[in-house]
Symmetry: C2
Subunit: 156 residues, 2 copies
Amino acid sequence: MAAIAAAAGVDRTTLHRRFANREALLRAVFQAKLDSAERVLDEARLTEAPVPVALHRYVEGIVPVSREWPLDTRRMMETDPEASARREAQSARLSAFIQRACDVGYLGPGTDPAWARVVLDALVDSVAHRFPEMDPPRAADLVVDTYLRGFGPSDG
Amino acid sequence: MAAIAAAAGVDRTTLHRRFANREALLRAVFQAKLDSAERVLDEARLTEAPVPVALHRYVEGIVPVSREWPLDTRRMMETDPEASARREAQSARLSAFIQRACDVGYLGPGTDPAWARVVLDALVDSVAHRFPEMDPPRAADLVVDTYLRGFGPSDG
DNA sequence: CTTTACTGCGACATCAGTGTTGCAGTTATC
DNA sequence: GATAACTGCAACACTGATGTCGCAGTAAAG
């Protein structure tokens, strides 16, 4: 709480006036991230936009969210079942999109959707935190390009 | 310390007989991971084996290390300058290998070595922890394939 | 000018985690 | 059988983080 207050530039007492305790503060932060992530999923139109468009919009939107809320929402599991369920629902939407991308042939035949999903998360997280100065549209370009083509020479 | 002791199946007192304090235990664990990682780097022969062979050997070797020591050695930064320097040296070896892979054309022209390095780390970490039952040779196959080809259909 | 709203500060109480100690029990060695 | 080595257990002291409280100061509103 002291570290969070210092980072926010306020006194610990002020934090406690807004949040009853540390758990309440964490819950509020998780909710804020879930809100932002949900907005990105909605705006990406994962189920109706063309797959390439939806993918790019999703990545471009989620990179700033990941940067603003650099916390792993999976850690909410045991403390807030409601938030956990909400996170699971959002994750399911993304996994369904990956499946759709496979179904329409956007991802190659033989692609394991589970692995494709994990890799997308990893690439987003990496670009967001290891290249913090890269702006979201360019970060999305990089992630999508790497995601589809890898690093091998073209026309291998 | 209580959680570590419980996970190890021993009493806290036994931990304290071996390690003066929590910091000493952490240092020992970091050293063990650095030792294992160094062995993998040595055996991969990153500077003399053919690039595809070296890459596969490295990934196949580092996946079990990452599983056995699931801790981020970057967190040693401020507590143990010696271990931090050792970690930096190992990281430099891997980055030099990525550069070599670019130089010989194994990675496509225009590849950003820094990004290629970050993505390799991310893929290894993902396969190690999100697919814990996958054996190392097969995990290495998957990582290298994804790394080079991505998920787009072949012959795009 | 008074009141309201808000904040920072310092002091305090509580608690969880770490580190220490003494003792009893177990196993292996001599 | 005695000794050494090792361990688990419980109790204790200490420390840092959290949460609470009272008070003084500041700014905005009436």
